[in-house]
């Protein structure tokens, strides 16, 4: 029986192609904008999560702004020996500028120890990272990001070459793999040198200290953080002088923010779905009025109230579902365009397909029920007399 209703409804939709198409427009715009925004939000979330995971979710970052605030090496080693920390490195960063082909090229230089590579999950394409010997002897060696290698040594293998940082000559010993950009800036325009060198090259940075610590596992991150916090509270006058945060915390905050933003935008976009629904209702009311006589004939020939109701409801649902499918297509195209223009990866997932179908069917039912009910309640005598 359902098949019959469907084919009757389909026939009348096809009989008014242009009208049906124009009517679906509201749903098309609504569905495509909601889907596109949700996909964008999800892609942004995934992107952020990827970046942070690349750095390592075991990572704890400690910033101390008090001059006296130091995490003593002995204390850190103790933590490490007790199995709470896998590795740690203090980090002193500064910037240095080069002129390449008449253009400024900024490189973020960081002084770190030999464990930093592990802490930050760095990988190399060639050469090696800083070693214990480099640190102990304070050797002028540098590990550089791929962009630095490309800009400063475009023609040769950078490993073994020398580069000048703040007037000091450094020998390049390793090149890092590409990591892209995150909230810390361009991760590929970086250079890593032994920490004591950084202390002399960027002395003003000594006022505050930053430590990167890798917890043994993801689960021990919280306990390690508590340990560090209680230690710093015991040596420093005020808790304002330091902060301790983990990579997963940042991830959590970003996820929450991004989720909120996505929901908000999708919520605004869904207003257009409601507007589209009202358009459907409007057209269905016109259709019912136009087809009063048909309804009368059908009733005279034995159609029950429920059968008329279902026929018109299905018609509304067909129109909105059609709109939903077109909207889905539009959002696929939109995603491809955004990806092409911004090289930001946007994927319309399978969940979006279901979502758009659920949306459009719901809109059809919600806004189609009133006109359909109106049709079903026409008295056959009156409906047959209608011109």
């Amino acid at each position: 029986m359902f098949k019959e209703y469907f084919s009757i409804a389909w026939r009348s939709v096809v009989a008014h192609k242009i009208r049906a198409l124009l009517t679906t427009l509201g749903v098309v715009i609504g569905v495509s904008s909601v889907i596109l925004l949700l996909s964008l939000g999800n892609s942004a979330k995934a992107e952020a999560a990827n970046q942070i995971r690349a750095i390592g979710s075991n990572l704890i970052i400690v910033r101390v702004t008090d001059r006296n605030g130091v995490l003593p090496t002995i204390w850190l080693d103790e933590l490490k020996d007790s199995g709470k920390l896998a590795a740690y490195s203090e980090i002193i960063s500064g910037n240095t500028s080069y002129v390449v082909n008449g253009q400024n090229f900024d490189v973020s230089v960081s002084g770190v120890n030999q464990d930093y590579g592990f802490v930050s999950s760095l990988e190399l394409t060639s050469g090696r990272f800083l070693s214990q010997i480099d640190l102990d002897n304070n050797l002028p060696v540098v590990v550089i990001g791929p962009k630095v290698a490309e800009k400063l040594f475009p023609l040769t293998d950078a490993v073994g070459e020398t580069m000048v940082i703040q007037g000091v000559q450094f020998r390049v010993i390793g090149i890092l793999t590409e990591r892209g950009t995150n909230f810390n800036g361009d991760l590929d325009a970086t250079a890593y040198i032994p920490i004591d060198f950084a202390g002399t090259l960027f002395p003003y940075r000594l006022n505050s200290k930053t430590y990167y610590l890798a917890s043994e596992t993801e689960d021990t991150v919280a306990t390690s953080m508590r340990k560090i916090e209680s230690y710093l509270t015991s040596v420093l006058p005020s808790a304002n002088e330091f902060n301790v945060f983990s990579q997963s915390q940042i991830l959590g905050v970003m996820n929450t923010l991004m989720g909120l933003l996505t929901t908000l935008l999708a919520g605004i976009a869904s207003i257009s779905l409601i507007v589209g629904g009202i358009g459907i209702m409007n057209i269905m009311l016109v259709t019912v009025r136009e087809r009063t006589r048909e309804i009368g004939v059908r009733k005279a020939l034995g159609a029950k109230r429920s059968q008329i109701l279902i026929q018109f409801l299905i018609e509304a649902v067909i129109i909105t579902t059609l709109g939903g499918l077109i909207g889905l297509g539009v959002s696929y195209v939109g995603a491809a365009i955004i990806q092409y223009l911004s090289d930001f990866k946007v994927t319309v997932g399978l969940d979006s397909v279901f979502l758009s179908l659920i949306f459009s069917i719901t809109i059809g039912v919600v806004f189609g029920i009133y006109p359909a009910n109106k049709a079903s309640q026409l008295e056959p005598v009156d409906a047959l007399r209608y011109e």
Binding site: E4, R11, K299, A300, L301, G302, R305, L384
Partner: protein
Amino acid sequence: MLTLSNVTKHYKMGDSVVRALDGISLTIDEGDFTAIVGPSGSGKSTLMNIIGCLDIVTDGEYVLNQIPIKKYEEDELAEIRNKQIGFVFQQFNLLPSFSALENVMMPMTYARVPKKQREKIAAEILTKVGLGDRMDHKPTELSGGQQQRVSIARALANNPAIILADEPTGALDQKTGKEVLDLLTQLNKQGKTVIVITHDVGVAAYASRILTIRDGKIVDDSRKEADHV
């Protein structure tokens, strides 16, 4: 077949009440060919609506096929219309976007006849009314007479006992009108109870019994012994 006892039907028109039917009693037997004749406003359309279960009486009793039609639910009335009565309208009332075959199939759809069977029956009936070669035509591709024959075929779809025709020739010229009336006569001879509502005495002449109605009352009931042809 059907009995009306002291049936009245009142309509509210603004403040006043219109007595469209005012105490009508009649019995129509199975196999009758009855014409209900009267000028416009006489109440004959209201009578047709009552007989066709499109409307219910204000007072009195209507029994169709031993079923008293009084306080029926709308859905039950729909089912009675679907199975017991075949309607033929003045304006044919075919659905324009459906073919002749599909139009004839429609009452069977509501009777939940399986599709294969619907198609077979509809094709048979259309062939019987002489439209075997026009089954896939849309109503607009058919002449008035052909359209009325499609609607008679549609009325026959669920094999009802009664054919109720409201001015079946009203939109046709004399020649095609006669063809339609001949078809109705033929159906009557095959055992259908035929009721024709008309203002045209010439049309009524085809019937074996003529009920004249005026101001909501039956004023004349005459039977013809011999066939008119």
